[in-house]
């Protein structure tokens, strides 16, 4: 599905070059559930953002659905992104001025989908996540777990092939966190590839593969399953 080759990301601070990512090679197949782990500052989020096309690497090659992402024009990339990728954030990032319904509907608006069709799609997903009764509430009226559920629903509304989640349970208590993770497993079984950044060993366990980052580099998996603590 996607392949990263020799990805570097750095900042120039004065005369020094600070590396955030160093020579990352990674390929993800359709239907995979990957957890990226590592201490703070190891480059997890940057890697996720590069995969999600929100950020660009300083060097390297990125192929998504057999297309060279870095050589594409902004418009094409945006179209590709809209079609295949959904994003979930630690802080939910719902738009406070919009209701649950409208938040979920927004990506469809940007894909120029007509109103009746939008209604059906949003209705389906509300139903699926059991939040029909909350559709007219504003985000601030919801608990954290519910907000994140809306965030996931919004990320899935356009039927993406890849769901990117940046510490999706980071702001939730353990019970809410478990609920979210079980949703992820279910979605993964339906064929949605998931890449999540997490600090939690337990949450990482839901995935099919764990990638450990340290100082911007992928740590080769050790047979003993060495723990990387934050």
């Amino acid at each position: 599905m996607l392949e990263l080759k020799g990805i570097y990301k750095w900042f120039n601070t004065g005369n020094n070059r600070t590396f955030i990512l160093k020579d990352i090679d990674l390929s993800v197949a359709e239907g995979e559930f990957i957890s990226i782990m590592g201490p703070s500052g190891s480059g997890k989020s940057t890697l996720l953002n590069i995969i999600g096309m929100l950020d660009e690497p300083s060097e390297g090659k990125y192929t998504f659905m057999r297309e060279d992402v870095l050589k594409m024009k902004e418009k094409q990339r945006s179209a590709l992104y809209k079609q295949y990728i959904g994003f979930v954030f630690q802080a939910y990032h719902l738009i406070d001025e919009l209701t649950v319904y409208e938040n979920i509907e927004t990506p469809l608006i940007y894909q120029n989908i007509k109103t009746p069709e939008r209604k059906a799609m949003v209705g389906d997903i509300l139903d699926r996540f059991n939040i029909v009764g909350k559709k007219d509430l504003f985000p601030t009226q919801l608990s954290g777990g519910q907000q994140q559920l809306v965030g996931i629903a919004r990320a899935l509304i356009a039927k993406p092939k890849l769901l990117l989640a940046d510490e999706p349970t980071g702001n939730l208590n353990s019970k809410q966190g478990e609920e979210i993770m079980s949703w992820f497993s279910e979605l993964n079984k339906e064929g949605v590839a998931i890449i999540q950044v997490t600090h939690s060993e337990k949450n990482a366990g839901y995935g099919t593969r764990i990638i450990n980052l340290l100082d911007g580099m992928i740590v080769p998996p050790s047979p003993k399953g060495e723990k990387q603590l934050t």
Binding site: S45, L54, S78, F89, A91, H93, E97, Y110, N171
Partner: protein
């Protein structure tokens, strides 16, 4: 999608109530001011534009040069000029002359009697040229015959009620003369430089002069009697310039080659002014009425633009300040697939909505305030709303452009945020737009300094004029319009007992007759020259005719010689000069002038006294060289000095006595100090309006500063938290926050001072007597601006400084 944007925009407005109110209030105030001003400017510019034909009408002006120096510029010219121009130049299609002709008129049947002003002897062509709309009567014939007059609808109602006025007679009491009404016209519009209540046929003037022994037909042939407003109708396609270039030759031919003018080194020139420019740009001697002030109108127009600009600058400031808040939303939307164009459209729609709400409020406020504003501006029909299409279009264009421009910048800034930087960690705005924002604030506060300093200067000038020693005392003086109906031979025998009876009344300290009172423009002028040396050149002096009591009663200061006295029978040929006339005639000092002889027409007069120059007219005007002559039977004005006791009762007594001696004359009076101070009305009004808009502009500026400072503080919340943890006191934090803005305001001050000085220096130059622009005025204006800025900033700064740092330092 639009409905979605719209919904979002509405919710945003309601969610951030504070910001919305600041924004909408600022914009609405700006738009209201702008609408009011445009409406005013539009009205002022609408003068004398009743018909297409009037674009081809110009009025003549006469300038006089004495010894090569410009002596005066007059709105009235000689009666022979119009016909001669028409005869000599094919460019001139027609002309019309107006000679002021104030009358006392009565309808003998009903015995209604009024003293009328704003009436003229007029050529028949005046009806068409000046746009007089006859409701009754034939425009081609109404003013052809002697003793015919046309009157306004209002006047017709006054004399004849609802009865038909056509063909009726209006008598001039005491004189064996009457006019026949040959036409009734629709009241002349207010937006004309001429107030016309009635027009009498020019033929009347000609026949009256003839009856009085005029053999030379002066009303048609005189090149010396300058009392006639003269308008020319130019042939279609001819521009005023073309004719104007031929006027110097005309003047040389008919006026400047005259023996007497040559001998006295007098030279005249003629100029043209388009009819529609008279109201705003003609401010010469002997205007038909008080004209507007083109400079003030232009200034107001500028203020309208400035206030509008300030409001939009605010909008830009406030909405970019809000961008931090909106940044997250933008980031999320971009992650959800929003393109930049879509976001820009969304923010533009928001700004349009905000502007429309403001516009709606502004329109309501405008309609409510129009009458008040117009009466503040001194409009005679304040309720009438007049905005020409041109100005409506201008405002609409301004609104559209302003909305777009002020919306575009924030839209671009906000939609330019990168989601990665917005959504993760502490979001800091770039300092990219900061310079622009600071520039905008400098502009706003510069204008504040300008307006505050301007207000102080305008008020000081008005105050200066009102409280300056005029050189005479006009307090407690009741002025009666003199008798016109008593025949010359019987006059002194009626006036003298009238005056004596008045003087017997308690509450009356003195009675003085004169040809003119202070505050009135002097129309009586004649060239006078010294007898010695023999080759002295003639100087035009303004004449004031007074009786024996005038100078002492008005407490005019004699600096040499004496007042007229009944003890000297020769005083009929005596003159009292003011100091200005003394130097105009070339005397070194008053002592040298005393006892000298002057030649006035065919008479020789002796200088018996010199008075200190007094301000016959307001301090806007320089003091003219003036000669005071003894005219005991002056019958224009009677000035009655009252003692303070029970003035209404005294007036009633005066009226009774008046009716006894002058039964045919209407009793009209005014208080001299009120009358005199009317000369300052326009300037006082200007001062008030200036203050009003200055305050509003500053208010809008403050709204913007409030928004910007709260934005700035929001940005520095963390810094403040750290400083407080490190032990900074509240005062110290407030100081740090306020410092940046004070620097900006100081820069604004430095930029504004020279510009303000230049602008106000120019304004003051319209006044012959004016204040100096003192340095402390700027100091005060600067101090006020800084104080206002400081207070505005402190609101937010203090709040931030006393906040608990723990809150601001928590990261997630």
């Amino acid at each position: 999608m639009i409905s979605n944007y719209f919904k979002l925009a509405v919710r945003n407005l309601f969610k951030r109530k504070g910001y919305s109110v600041l924004n909408i209030l600022g914009l609405a105030i700006g738009m209201t001011c702008c609408l009011l001003i445009f409406q005013y400017v539009s009205y002022e510019k609408s003068y004398d534009q009743f018909s297409e034909k009037q674009k081809q009408i110009v009025r003549l002006r006469l300038d006089s040069y004495q010894q090569g120096v410009l002596a005066w510029q007059s709105a009235v010219v000689y009666p022979a000029i119009g016909p001669t121009l028409k005869k000599d130049y094919p460019e001139v299609e027609d002309f019309c002359r107006l000679l002021p002709n104030n009358l006392i008129l009565t309808n003998t049947k009903t015995n209604v009697k009024f003293r009328e002003t704003q009436g003229y002897f007029a050529d028949p062509s005046a009806i068409k040229m000046l746009g007089v709309q006859l409701l009754n009567g034939d425009p081609d014939k109404a003013l052809n015959e002697p003793d015919n007059m046309i009157i306004s609808e209002t006047m017709s109602k006054k004399y004849f009620g609802n009865a038909e006025a056509m063909g009726k007679q209006l008598r001039i009491p005491g004189r064996d003369r009457s006019y026949q009404v040959s036409g009734v016209f629709k009241d002349h519009p207010h937006n004309s430089h001429l107030r016309i209540n009635y027009l009498c046929s020019y033929a009347t003037l000609v026949s009256q002069l003839k009856a009085n022994g005029d053999t030379s037909n002066r009303a048609e042939t005189s090149f010396g009697w300058y009392d006639f407003y003269t308008y020319l109708q130019l042939k279609p396609g001819i521009e005023g310039k073309e004719l104007a270039s031929k006027l110097p030759a005309f003047c040389d031919r008919y006026m400047n080659n005259d023996e007497r003018n040559k001998a006295n080194n007098l030279k005249y020139t003629l100029s043209l002014i388009p009819l529609s420019d008279i109201h705003l740009y003609s401010n010469y001697k002997y205007e038909a009425g008080v004209n507007g002030n083109g400079r003030a109108v232009r200034f107001m127009f500028l203020i309208g633009f400035i206030i509008m600009a300030i409001a939009w600058v605010n909008y830009i400031n406030l909405s970019t300040a809000r961008s931090v808040e909106r940044g997250k939303e933008v980031g999320v939307r971009k992650v959800l697939g929003a393109g930049k164009a879509q976001l820009i459209r969304q923010f533009l729609l928001e700004s349009l909505l905000l502007n429309l709400v403001a516009l709606l409020i502004a329109c309501c406020a405008f309609y409510m305030l129009v009458p008040t504003f117009n009466s503040l501006m001194g409009r005679e029909e304040p309720a009438r709303f007049a905005m020409s299409n041109a100005y409506l279009v201008l405002f609409t264009g301004l609104f559209a452009a302003g909305t777009l421009l002020s919306g575009l910048y924030p839209a671009f800034v906000i939609s330019g945020y990168k989601p990665v930087s917005v959504l993760k960690g502490a979001f800091k705005n770039t300092s990219k737009g900061l310079l622009l924002r600071k520039g905008l604030i400098i502009g706003q506060f510069g204008i504040s300094v300008l307006l505050i300093a301007g207000t102080i200067i305008v008020f000081r000038q008005v105050n200066f004029m009102r409280h300056q020693d005029l050189g005479f005392n006009i307090n407690q003086t009741l002025v009666l319009d003199g008798s016109e109906t008593v025949s010359d031979s019987a006059y002194m025998n009626t006036y003298q007992p009238f005056k004596e009876e008045l003087l017997k009344q308690t509450g009356i300290q003195g009675v003085a007759a004169s040809t003119n009172v202070p505050g009135q423009e002097i129309f009586w002028t004649t060239g006078i020259k010294r007898m010695n040396p023999a080759n002295a050149e003639s100087v035009i002096l303004h004449h004031l005719g007074v009786d024996y009591d005038f100078i002492p009663q008005f407490q005019v200061k004699m600096i040499a010689g004496r007042n007229f006295s009944k003890d000297f029978s020769t005083d009929e040929n005596a003159a009292i000069l003011n100091e200005t006339a003394v130097s105009a005639l070339g005397f070194k000092d008053p002592a040298e002038a005393m006892g000298q002889k002057l030649i006035r027409r065919r008479d020789t007069i002796t200088i018996i006294g010199i008075v200190q120059s007094f301000h016959h007219q307001g301090l806007q005007k320089a003091i003219d060289p003036q000669v005071i002559l003894l005219v005991p039977d002056s019958r224009n004005s009677y000035s009655i000095k009252l003692s303070s006791a029970d003035i209404p009762k005294t007036i009633a007594t005066v009226q009774n006595i008046w009716n006894k001696y002058f039964p045919d004359d209407p009793f009209n009076y005014f208080f001299l100090d009120d009358f005199y101070n009317q000369q300052y009305k326009a300037d006082q009004r200007f001062g008030k309006v200036f203050t009003l808009f200055a305050m509003l502009a500053i208010l809008i500026g403050c709204l913007g500063l409030l928004g910007l400072s709260s934005y700035n503080i929001l940005q520095r919340t963390k810094e403040i938290g750290i400083r407080k943890v490190l032990g900074a006191s509240t005062q110290k934090v407030v100081y740090i926050l306020a410092k940046d803005f004070l620097v900006v305001v100081l820069i604004a001050f430095v930029v504004a001072v020279p510009f303000t000085w230049w602008l106000m220096h120019n304004w003051l130059h319209e006044f012959a007597y004016r204040i100096n622009i003192d340095w402390w005025i700027f100091l005060i204006a600067g101090a006020i601006s800084i104080a206002i800025a400081l207070i505005t900033i402190s609101f937010q700064a203090i709040k931030a400084a006393i906040a608990n740092p723990v809150k601001s330092l928590r990261t997630e």
